[in-house]
């Protein structure tokens, strides 16, 4: 599948109808989502024929991208039942197979090393402090091959240090810097649109 085609398909997905600010629910736009997964597969072979987990899947944009790039199995995890309903509809629309699990990622314990790759656009920690690190910690416990994650560029040094020192990362690499354009979603947003500098990270866990 070509990048443009992937981006087009992801652009048709339904997004949050009633986003919950405390969960930092922001849609992952098709531009970022397509590039993230395309790179994961084309540069690293981490998606096709692999078991891919999407942590904090929301409406399932990253999960859908993984499925469209022929992951062998895609599992989306989220705490919010409404998002999971939308995600299920999106999967049906695209005619792709995605399993969904409702849970609190920070309390999740998965057995074994079945999951190859974790992809995620986690909360940045603006509502619940440290949420970004909790997601990263959880992802590093589960992935056998790699974790792809988006974090604010302003947290770059902090993330690198934590990943290598505390979360069992063998490598922690910023693959590229992206602009995440957030539309005015919530009442407290003053500007019509804002651009946040985010890093796309690839982490490789140490082998057990």
């Amino acid at each position: 599948m070509k990048l443009k085609q992937l981006e087009g398909l992801l652009g048709d997905l339904q997004q949050f109808s009633n986003p919950k600010v405390d969960l930092e629910q922001y849609p992952t736009g098709p531009h970022i989502a397509s590039r993230m997964l395309f790179t994961a597969e084309n540069s690293y072979g981490d998606i096709t024929d692999k078991v891919v987990a999407d942590f904090g899947c929301g409406c399932g944009t990253l999960s859908a991208a993984a499925a469209l790039l022929d992951a062998a199995c895609v599992i989306g995890f989220d705490i919010d039942p409404q998002s999971l309903e939308t995600a299920t509809l999106n999967a049906e629309e695209l005619e792709v197979e995605i399993d969904f699990v409702q849970c609190d990622i920070t309390k999740l314990e998965l057995k074994g090393r079945v999951v190859d790759t974790v992809v995620m656009n986690p909360p940045f920690g603006t509502r619940k402090k440290g949420a970004d690190m909790e997601f990263l910690s959880a992802a590093m416990k589960v992935a056998s091959r790699a974790v792809y994650s988006l974090h604010k560029t302003s947290t770059r040094e902090h993330i690198k240090r934590a990943a290598l020192r505390d979360f069992n990362a063998k490598t922690a690499e910023v693959i590229c810097e992206l602009r995440y354009d957030l539309p005015k979603l919530y009442k407290f947003h003053k500007r019509k649109e804002v651009d946040i500098a985010v890093d796309l990270w690839r982490f490789e866990p140490k082998q057990k």
Binding site: D49, V101, D104, K107, G112
Partner: protein, 122 residues
């Protein structure tokens, strides 16, 4: 929920020792046979899957064709077809996942297991 997912889920209630596997109580099972048959992937998965949990899970969902033990040597085509079917084509739409130690039921609705804990379980 498919058995590949069931094979990783555990009971995360505080203090529970016997967390895995969760017993399946199936109320509605759907079979979807359009999943691509990929022998390399299946062989790769065979090394990672908890076999007994898969066999018991499949039985709970009405599929009894899996052998009690996975083959030790070269896997036959017919074995891989059964493995593929159990792992990827059986969907639990409605039912529960039951913790073997506490009896706590995690509901599965519209194919989605709800693993959220109550306040006193954390």
């Amino acid at each position: 929920m498919r058995l590949i997912v069931h094979n990783m889920l555990t009971c995360n209630i505080k203090g529970v020792v016997n967390k895995f596997p969760l017993r399946i109580e199936a109320e509605k099972v759907v079979i979807k046979k359009e999943v691509d048959f990929n022998t390399d992937f299946l062989r790769h998965m065979l090394a990672k899957i908890e076999w007994k949990a898969l066999v018991d899970g499949a039985r709970s969902m009405g599929y009894t064709e899996l052998p009690d033990h996975a083959p030790e040597a070269e896997e036959s085509y017919s074995f891989l077809k059964k493995f593929h079917h159990a792992l990827l084509e059986l969907h639990l739409e409605e039912g529960s996942l039951v913790c073997q130690e506490t009896g706590r039921k995690f509901p599965v609705e519209k194919g989605v297991p709800n693993m959220l804990l109550h306040e006193d379980e954390v």
